[in-house]
Amino acid sequence: MKRILPPVILVLLALLPLLGLSSYWMHIFILVIMWAVIGMAWNLLGGYCGQVSFGHAAFFGVGAYTAGILYNKAGLSGWWGLPLSIVAVTASALVIGFICLRLRGPFFALGTLAMGVILRVTTENLRSLTEGDLGIMIRERTWTEKTWYFYIILSIAASTYFVVRKVIESKLGYYFVAIREDQDAAESLGINTTFYKNIALCLSAVITGIAGAFYTNYMGYIDPKVVFALHDISIVTIMVVMVGGVATFWGPAVGAVIMVLLAELIRSIPKLGAAHHTLFGILLIVIIIFLPNGIVGDLPKLRKIFRLGRTS
């Protein structure tokens, strides 16, 4: 059952556009899948390797701007950003890793948070390259329909799932979890913790960056405040994983569904819409107190509560 679940879900999703859903619903599905990709990427570093990053917007933004600058300055199609963002994001991940990975725990989190902000401010001010606050507009959209965007992000998500699964079940996965559980013990068991933390960071960053490059092509407009946003990208990434389930394969996907739908729902309620950050904050507190392992991680607990409710 568990073996066939991923291909079944993939096929069901692949058939989705045939239903002739409205453009709005296709947009929601694309966003959900994109957030699932970012969540899976973050989970690799934060969930498995235990290095909680508050700055994943940095990698999302670098990916997005790689696509944007290639289009705007080099006259290439923005889609070149997908492969080329790997180079740009790896380079920035190595620099950020060099600075932040010597820090542990909350200090690493603060370091990455600062990195995200530094990159946003840099992008705002490097006007000759990034157009600053004006942002970059992709003037010719590749498709007016959403179907192909959907298939592109779906294949990115499927590859990400596959890569994460392979990594976690291999030696790398064992090393990541060992580092998360006790860095000193891991080091004395022959694990080069600095090296493997860098690998986790680079993998996580590259996947996030590809999602960023996709975002540029899909949305057709980026500016620093959007793609380097602390709360709308970095924090939401953490929430997706926390709500869904830290260090689980399906957590980020479940979290993405809930977070995107919730955001849309709250925004559609008049007057409450502006307070969606507040509501997200409250949700996070509730999750941390009652479901510290997220929905997927605490599934047995949820089942129990559900069963109790039925019998009483």
Partner: protein, 241 residues
């Protein structure tokens, strides 16, 4: 024959505090060297220097004639020196088996090989039946043995045991002594820190005594028990009690 491990004039300072000063001794291949001393004598600091957590402030450590001080712990582990921790450090949210697999990967180049090494280490330490338990839930005695299993899974030539017997009940104590003896029979070299006098006297071939960071005596268990300096610094207290 050249000793396996040589500690040459090692000092380690923490700010103005000298935790270890000018300690020299060597460990021969295949022997069990006991390291004793009152609390705060610098035993664990010395282990941390040998293991690579701290570089020595002065002096050097040689393993098989090659300088290892200054290397990182993971490099020293790769060369063949494993260790256990006084305060056990199991990888809490991993199962017992996964804990050992993670350390077996140092030499295993495939998952299957790592599994094999890990299962062998678990059988050896008598933890095989507990392999699926999440290590957080293990009682102390088994956690100490898990530390030993993990060290063994790195397939070392030498193991440093940091109080692997502390806090154990008599049955568990018997188990651990048995395991350490069996490890010696395999031809591994062992250095052990232990407070339990009966244990250290019965398993050690030679003993080094530290007091206030300095070596005050070295010799066979019989010589150590007869050494007036040692009795004054250490055993005297327990005799009086």
């Amino acid at each position: 024959m050249k000793p396996l491990l040589e500690v040459n004039g090692v000092s380690r300072f923490f700010g103005g505090l000298a935790a270890v000063t000018g300690v020299s001794f060597s460990v021969k291949k295949g022997e069990i060297l006991g390291l004793i001393g009152p609390n705060g004598a610098g035993k664990t600091t010395l282990f941390n220097v040998v293991n690579g957590f701290y570089p020595p402030s002065r002096g050097e450590v040689l393993f098989k004639g090659k300088r290892i001080s200054g290397l990182k712990p993971h490099q020293i582990c790769r060369l063949g020196v494993a260790r256990t921790f006084q305060v056990v450090k199991p990888l809490q949210r991993m199962s017992v088996l996964d804990n050992v697999i993670a350390s077996a990967f140092v030499r295993a180049n495939s998952r299957a090989r790592a599994d094999e090494i890990a299962i062998e280490a678990l059988r050896f330490t008598g933890l095989y039946d507990d392999r699926d338990v999440i290590s957080k839930g293990l009682p102390l005695g088994k956690r100490k043995r898990l530390e030993i299993a993990r060290a063994l899974a790195t397939q070392p030539e030498m193991i440093l045991f940091d109080e692997s017997c502390a806090g154990l009940n008599p049955t568990e104590l018997g188990h651990s002594i048995e395991i350490i003896r069996k490890i010696k029979e395999r031809g591994l070299t062992i250095m052990v820190i232990e407070h339990h006098m009966k244990v250290i006297m019965s398993i050690s071939d030679r003993i080094v005594v530290l007091n206030y960071g300095e070596k005050i005596a070295e010799g066979t268990p019989a010589e150590i028990t007869a050494n007036p300096l040692v009795i004054e610094a250490y055993l005297g207290a327990s005799q009086g009690a």
